[in-house]
């Protein structure tokens, strides 16, 4: 340490302090969720170091809805959406990144337009479509409207564009056709982007609520959030202990996965950088 720069050091410490403070604030809702989920409900709004710990809230939450089934549904839903998004977005992004065809920029503009359209607004129309193709109350039906993700197309296109053309040419000279090139060159090289986009997509669909509620009718298709909403309905007042316990149950897989793989996730984001 340079002795002459005490002032700078202090400034740096202050800044680090601010960074941790902000981190604490950002964590606060989660911290509170843990607090109130693990304590009896009379401590939900009172903080007492010696409050007794309990798992009752989890037991209660778990018993109020068939969470196990909902977990399975959500898991299937998220997997289907993710697979479909990967395939559809990959193909479209590849077209936008490396092919010339008439109407390309118009098509791309239209894709970007989708970013701006709120799916909530289209619920009624989409419900009609689903019922026409007989997919009301099916997990596929929940996923369909989200399968062509403009965000995914956009992100992958950017990534594909940064992949050196030489790699594609090398593969061409070795005898690869367009699909082989996509599969053997572009997809593996864009893996970080896939991980990044996957994270965003999974957390969105894991937590999506209104459309799944409207389009599903039975326990065998409903995702977790619908179960969660039973506690979330504040018509008769909020019971935070149960809500937070339910919330923790619902997001636990996500949280755990994120904790375990956070290094990989974050690194993927880094590589997927939007420039």
């Amino acid at each position: 340490m340079r002795s002459s720069n005490i002032k700078e050091t202090i400034a740096l410490q202050l800044e680090n302090g601010a960074a941790y403070l902000l981190a604490l604030i950002w964590m606060l809702p989660l911290i509170y969720a843990f607090w109130s989920a693990f304590h009896p409900s009379e401590y939900a709004t009172r903080f007492d170091l010696f409050a007794p710990l309990t798992l009752d809230n989890f037991r209660e939450a778990w018993s109020r809805a068939p969470f196990a089934r909902y977990f399975l549904n959500t898991f299937i839903l998220v997997s289907i959406i993710l697979c479909a998004q990967f395939i559809l977005c990959t193909l479209a992004a590849y077209a936008f990144a490396r092919f010339e065809f008439p109407g390309k920029s118009l098509a791309f503009g239209l894709v970007l337009l989708q970013l701006m359209i709120m799916p909530e607004v289209l619920i009624v129309e989409n419900y009609v479509t689903m019922s026409q193709i007989g997919l009301v109350d099916s997990i596929v039906g929940i996923g369909l409207p989200y399968m062509a993700s403009a965000f995914g197309i956009f992100l992958l296109r950017q990534t594909f564009k940064t992949i050196p053309k030489e790699l594609e040419e090398a593969a061409k000279v070795e005898g690869c056709g367009p699909f082989q090139i996509l599969w053997k060159v572009y997809v593996p090289l864009a893996r970080p982007t896939y991980v990044a986009f996957g994270l965003v997509s999974v957390s969105y669909h894991w937590n999506n609520f209104l459309w799944p509620l409207v389009i599903t009718n039975s326990v065998t298709t409903r995702p977790l959030t619908v179960g969660l909403a039973i506690f979330g309905a504040p018509e008769s007042g909020v019971d935070w202990s149960i809500i937070t316990a339910g919330t923790l149950l619902a997001v636990a897989p996500l949280l755990v996965a994120f904790l375990l793989f956070q290094r990989q996730f974050v690194q993927s984001f880094m590589h997927a950088g939007i420039k």
Partner: protein, 401 residues
């Protein structure tokens, strides 16, 4: 026959389990009818779901929905009156077996469109310990507006500028029009006619009622000014931040479970009279259904509203028993005996009236909600706010006269 039924859950608790259990019993009793009972979120979600299903031509045959959606559902041509479906005398008698106050929201144009199911009224919960501390008689809660103010002043505890305990709280988010319906009724004024095409928002008694509400906070200082959050009010009460609260009977079970103090439940106080609107969900039968389906639906609804099940439902949820014979069942009789507050809502039904419900209900209700809130936050005087709300409501409703 396959039946699809949507039902919303508007109160906490393992309601879906109760409904599923009752439906199972029904299927056992009627092996030829297969019921698919679908939990549909809260009242709002349920409405969206029904509407989406309706437009897709794939609706349910019956559904529990907000009792006040009646006019909109009629306007959409979505529902059929029960009068067209019931056939036997027995069934017609069944239509008349409910508390009249609960039927008010289900009847219009001389026909019955909705059968009460998960219904509630507003009651006043009060903290007996706080009453004792303030030197008030815990068995004698305020019965008039003036008494409410008086008691409230005694109950309001201050520590410097900070209020540690408020006298009373009336929630003004979520369903302000509902609370206000009670105040107006107590002042002798209903908010609309039974055809649902006229409102009385700027009647002098209505304006007075709103003035009183505003005064509770601004003039008498027994209630916080600004709006009071519906969803967290119970917690406030349980935490002792308010000595009295007006809230749905649907909270009874939760308050009973969580209160760490001695609490009481009372009817709402009176000005010119006692009064409260009813609230909650009715059974409707959808228009897009075959005659067999309708008959099956009637069977289901009758089954679910039988006294024994109504009693079970009421005990499990805190909702009202919908007819006198429910309270005559041994279970409910016993329950009321063990837990007298459970009877308050029933007793209050005598003074109850319909919840605000008109054509263009969403808009009209919002007009009133906004007017109430704008007064409570001090933006407008009651007369201004209600005049303007009435004017706009007239414009919306004149097409229906």
């Amino acid at each position: 026959v396959d039946l699809t039924m949507y039902y919303p859950v508007a109160v906490g608790g393992p309601l879906t389990k109760v409904v599923d259990g009752m439906v199972e019993d029904f299927e056992k009793a009627n092996p030829d009818i297969n019921v698919n009972a679908i939990y549909a979120g809260n009242y709002n979600d349920a409405r969206i779901k029904a509407l989406a299903a309706l437009q897709s031509g794939e609706p349910a045959q019956t559904s529990v929905m907000f009792s006040i959606d009646i006019y909109e559902l009629i306007e959409q041509g979505a529902i059929v009156p029960y009068d067209d479906v019931v056939e036997t005398e027995e069934e017609k008698a069944w239509l008349n077996s409910f508390y009249p106050a609960l039927m008010e929201n289900g009847k219009t144009q001389g026909k019955t469109w909705g059968i009460p199911f998960q219904r509630s009224t507003i009651v006043m919960y009060y903290n007996k310990d706080a009453f004792r501390e303030a030197g008030l008689d815990p068995e004698n809660p305020p019965a008039t507006w003036d008494e409410l103010v008086e008691a409230g002043k005694k109950l309001t505890k201050k520590n410097g500028d900070t209020v540690e305990q408020w006298g009373a709280m009336i929630p003004s988010t979520g369903y302000p029009y509902w609370m206000f319906g009670a105040l107006a009724m107590q002042n002798g004024q209903t908010l609309m006619n039974s055809e649902g095409n006229e409102t009385y928002f700027n009647a002098p008694a209505t304006i007075e009622a709103l003035q009183y509400w505003q005064d509770l906070g601004n003039k008498h200082g027994i209630m916080p000014s600004g709006t009071i959050e519906w969803a967290t009010l119970r917690q406030n009460f349980l935490e002792g931040k308010t000595a009295m609260m007006w809230h749905s009977t649907g909270n009874l079970t939760a308050v009973k479970n969580d209160a760490s103090f001695d609490f009481g439940v009372a009817m709402l106080p009176a000005q010119k009279r006692r009064g409260t609107p009813t609230g909650g969900g009715n059974f409707y039968i959808f228009e897009k259904s075959s005659p067999e389906e309708r008959k099956a639906a009637i069977k289901l609804i009758r089954f679910l509203t039988e006294p024994e099940r109504t009693a079970e439902w009421s005990i499990g949820t805190g909702y009202l028993g919908t007819g006198p014979d429910a309270y005559a069942t041994p279970e409910l009789t016993q329950y009321v005996k063990d837990f007298p507050p459970a009877a308050v809502a029933r007793d209050q039904l005598e003074f109850a009236t319909a919840e605000l419900s008109t054509f263009q209900n969403g808009r009209v209700r919002k007009l009133l909600d906004d007017a109430i809130q704008s007064v409570l936050i001090g933006d407008k005087t009651p007369a201004e706010a209600l005049d303007s709300a009435q004017k706009q409501a007239d414009r919306l409703l004149k097409n229906y006269r």
